[in-house]
Amino acid sequence: MAVDPAKTKVVRGVTLRADPAREDCFVVSQHETEMVSERDYNSPAAVRSIMHREYNNEVQNTEIAAQMLVDFPDAPWELRMELARQCWDETRHARMFLRRVIELGGRKGESPIKNGDWAIIGMIENLPGRLLVQHRLFEGGVMDSFKQVARGFREHGDSRTAEVYETILADEIQHVRFANQWLRRFSKEPRAVMQMAAALNYAHGVLRALSPKDGDRSLDDVDLAAEDHSIEINTEDRMHAGFTQAEIADLVRRDRHGLPAKRTGATA
């Protein structure tokens, strides 16, 4: 299965999967410089923008899980059931974030969106690679960031938004957990191991190529290269999700050395 060149796009010299369909009300960005990046919990506009970005991220997650059902019809039925369940979970997450956007006085399409995860995952042509990058790497990173973001909202008195993040975090644990269970099975097959290694290498290469460079600024004039994206590893939930103590120790060590071990949902 090779990605049809007609279904790709090029962003800063990197070939990625072309965007999924979106309504005309949305401005679809291709890079963080075309997004709103302010993260001030006290600014209603910034919070709405974060919620709106998360809304699209959850729709993307629905699309990614759905596309895996389409692209891998011969996957084990038990795994397909997990992906189908994930489709439903992600739709509920999207609705939760949109509801919060509207409660805060916003509307669908009010700020730019970006389909970064879809663009990367859609270029990975095998199931072990997609599970590794989407579920273990990206959604694993979401477990870290959502815990931190939920705490941030709670500390700023916004328990309603915090509750949304905490609810979604619980669902994400299961998504990462089922992926970890299947990845352990796949890791017994040399071909699958090679596929996973290639996918991880590809994803890290893309993230590096698209990471903000000196001078890159967001639409709201945030200096993107200077932003601090450090996030504490969510050890407890990673253990719930099937990471071993040794794997978590590796993540903490890589984090200290500034390697791209994870990404946050907020920057997807």
Binding site: E23, V59, E63, A66, Q67, M81, R85, T91
Partner: protein
Amino acid sequence: MGLSVRERGETVATLRWIHVRLMETIASWIPTTPEMEIKLAFGTHVWDLAQHADALGKRTYELRMPLQHSLPPSDAYQAYLAGIAAITDSAERVAAFYDAVLPALARRYADYLSRTDQLLDAPTVRIFKHIAAEQARMIGEGDDLRRELANLPAAPRALADGLKQQEQAIADFVVHRDEKTEAGAA
């Protein structure tokens, strides 16, 4: 006289094939449909269809077939489903799935329930009644979706009507296998 064990198994396995195919069809529509609300409805119903396929697949094992066994339906029924999968317009996708496909399945379930022995085939009866109730809910959610999307242009009535006629023209969607051929193939 009711249905034989073999006929029950073939029907259940065929319906499993159909539900898996429908799950894949609406999954394929999610990234290619622009309207977020429609994507989210399809995403919800992917999970419903998977659960229905799973329940049917557990029942095949109880009917002397492998666990999660699927049998392809007749060529005419496969062509009907392929035509639906090829629809690209959002409103037409919604109409095809909620106004044509799901109501047609409800008729198939009702037809089966009228022909099978309710005691001899009680586990299948329970599963079919449960799925039929679930799919009635899904049809209702399809109506809710269109109320939410007041600006979605109505799909031509002829589309759903045409699909209904095409489906109803297929007398038996189950391909009854010769027992010896099946054993040889296995």
